[in-house]
Structures are given as structure tokens and as C-alpha cells.
């Protein structure tokens, strides 16, 4: 039976949780299940900063998630409260808060916790990593 998944990522870009989440997401696609969204919460929002500049031989979480999202059209949702309190901000919020710069861009979308709460109603599995 085809199952619907939401993945919730709680840990930062250098954690093993990110890589586990990515491998799990790839397996969901490979096994022909449905990945509805990846939700970045808490310290997980650090994975979405386009200012991340790891060494060449290191895991680049922002690039990997961007490529994954574009390849399979998976929404990448970022908790807006977690992001703003950690200095992660998109263009719209940057303007609203009178900042000069922003460091979150497509495919990452700032959204509220309701986006995650809905998953508990209409999806089979909500799996979290790095908590």
C-alpha cells in the first residue's frame, strides 16, 4: 500500500540526522511511496541557510535538499518562528523586519506550525530525525 510521509528534521547541517533523513527520503521515493513534505524545525532550520559554505569534501545540506526538492517536487517547509529566532529569514520577512539581507530562498518556504500539525491528520507517517 502506498504510504504518505512527512519528515521532520530537528538537527543542524553538520549532524548525522540530516544524512539519515536524506537517505530515508530517497528510500521513500525509491519504494514508490509518497513524500508530502520535509519540515525543518528547531535547529533543523540551519540546514536551509544559503550562506552555508562547507568544505568541498563535506556534506552540503542546503544544496542536497535543494536538488532533492527540484528532482522530485517535494515541498521544503521551514518553521517560521524557529527560523526567525535563529537569524534565518527569507526576502519577504527581511523586508517586513527592515533587514538588508536574506538567507533563505527557493525551494525553502517559511511556514507556520499548522503545516506540520495537518500532517498528523492526513498522512500515514510522521518521522522525525535529530531530536
Amino acid at each position: 500500500m502506498k504510504q504518505q510521509f512527512t519528515l521532520v528534521l530537528h538537527s543542524g547541517p553538520m549532524s548525522l540526522g540530516v544524512q539519515s533523513a536524506l537517505r530515508f527520503a530517497q528510500s521513500i521515493i525509491k519504494l514508490n511511496h509518497q513524500l508530502e513534505q520535509v519540515f525543518f524545525y528547531g535547529d533543523g532550520v540551519y540546514c536551509c541557510s544559503n550562506l552555508l559554505t562547507p568544505m568541498q569534501d563535506e556534506f552540503n545540506s542546503v544544496l542536497i535538499w535543494q536538488q532533492f526538492s527540484q528532482a522530485y517536487h517535494i515541498p521544503m517547509h521551514v518553521c517560521i518562528a524557529s527560523a526567525l529566532r535563529r537569524g534565518l529569514i527569507d526576502e519577504k520577512e527581511s523586508t517586513n523586519n527592515n533587514h538588508d539581507n536574506h538567507n533563505i530562498s527557493v525551494p525553502f518556504i517559511l511556514t507556520g506550525l499548522g503545516q506540520l500539525a495537518k500532517a498528523f491528520y492526513n498522512q500515514h507517517r510522521v518521522i522525525q530525525f535529530g531530536r
Binding site: 528547531g42 518562528a81 506550525l113 500539525a117 498528523f120 491528520y121 522525525q128
Partner: protein
């Protein structure tokens, strides 16, 4: 539609990071979506049950949120008995009423839940 049962394990100290606050934000949001939530404090999370003086360390107190839980139909909270002992939290002096449970009861709760968070 049947309400989904969520076991929410609270395991972070109250002020070392925003996690405790973010746990409570998510709990209130899930409750607003009428998810059936059971809160279980384990490990260092039991320290959230102690009265604190958050204003002295420029932190936002979690007390108000915890005491508001009954308004969200979260009427019963649990704590793992071994964690209460380990962190010397007397279960009759907590800021919200809790029931101490054993590891085997915790296992049963987890087994019966739709989601564990």
C-alpha cells in the same frame, strides 16, 4: 474521524536552548488541531516541572504555558519515575499535577500511540 493519539516525550531542560519552548509551541498547535496528546516528561525534561525564576536569567518562563495546558484539553501529564528520582524532582511539588509512571507503563503508552514525538 478518530482523533490521532500522539505521545509527546519532553526530554529537554527548560532554558539551555529554545527546544523546550518549541516543544510547547508544537504541543499547543497539535492540541488546537484536536490531536489527542499525552505529555510524558523524561530524562532532563522533568526539570521543566520545577518552579523557576526565569526572569532572573532573562528567559521566558514556560510556567504560563504549562499551566494553560488544561485549556487545550491536555488534562493529564506523566513523568518517568526514574527520571524524577535522578533529577530529584518531588512529584508532589511540580508546577502542574503529574502522575509518575514506570518504564513498562511508558512502553505501553508508546505501543498504543499513533505517533511518538
Amino acid at each position: 474521524m478518530l482523533r490521532k493519539k500522539v505521545i509527546y516525550l519532553i526530554k529537554n531542560t527548560p532554558f539551555e536552548s529554545p527546544r523546550a519552548r518549541e516543544d510547547l509551541d508544537l504541543i499547543l498547535m497539535l492540541a488546537a488541531f484536536e490531536v489527542e496528546i499525552t505529555l510524558i516528561f523524561i530524562h532532563a525534561g522533568v526539570l521543566q516541572l520545577l518552579p523557576t525564576f526565569a526572569e532572573k536569567i532573562n528567559a521566558r518562563a514556560l510556567t504560563d504555558v504549562l499551566t494553560a495546558l488544561p485549556h487545550y484539553e491536555i488534562t493529564e501529564c506523566f513523568a518517568l519515575d526514574t527520571s524524577l528520582s535522578q533529577y530529584q524532582v518531588p512529584h508532589d511539588k511540580t508546577i502542574v499535577p503529574i502522575r509518575a509512571i514506570t518504564q513498562s507503563v511508558l512502553t505501553q503508552y508508546i505501543h498504543d500511540a499513533d505517533y511518538i514525538f
